[in-house]
Symmetry: C2
């Protein structure tokens, strides 16, 4: 796949995150950006498109000050990695998360992530981003 | 930067991980793969090349059964993301980790990571990989 496809996939993932996690419009995110399935690897979120819609609705309802601020995007063929700052209550210290999305024909079909609470005490002054 | 450079950087990072974390040869990893600095964003590891050498030596000494098994590599220009299974004692459940390395002129100069212990109870049967 050409690097233009990777760039297009990166833009798709950015718009998906904006629609789902920043604007809370789960069904619009499904209609516009998700393929015929959504294989979930986050161990705390139920599988599939319904599981995705559930977590978006729950986040929107419970955490009106939720922050999902993507700091880095790495796109390679059909995979897109994001490194983002999350905060459920909108306050520090928040969470460092890396997500990987796999796309087929320009639609998202699979998701992996790793989350780590940002510790207050750190071994240097560089931060996690 | 061309996609050939991304592929070369991906190979460099794979050889770096093999040399440092699988074979425990910190100085060889520094000499062959690290640039003039190593900006560390893992909050628990001291900054710089000396901090890197310290954590490699500590891992080799304390955890002879340490596993670092990379399952996915995503390379985009000067950034390379790895998704890997870690286990300090060589046993499950282990840790899911995503690393991002930044390279300059083919040498590694900066590192971010996010680690999450793999929970025994999961919301589906897909696993974290």
């Amino acid at each position: 796949m050409s690097s233009m496809d990777a760039a297009t996939n990166a833009q798709t993932v950015r718009e998906f995150v904006q629609t789902a996690f920043i604007e809370g419009r789960a069904q619009d995110a499904v209609d516009s950006f998700i393929g015929d399935r959504y294989v979930q690897h986050n161990p705390d979120v139920p599988d599939g498109i319904e599981g995705f819609k559930g977590i978006v609705a729950e986040t929107k309802d419970k955490y009106p000050n939720f922050i999902f601020d993507t700091r880095k995007v790495i796109a390679d063929d059909d995979h897109v990695c994001l490194h983002s700052y999350l905060s459920y209550d909108g306050n520090p210290p928040g969470i460092s998360v890396m997500d990987i999305f796999r796309l087929e024909d320009g639609k998202i079909v699979e998701h992996w992530d790793v989350l780590q609470p940002i510790p207050e005490k750190q071994a240097h002054g560089n931060g996690m981003f």
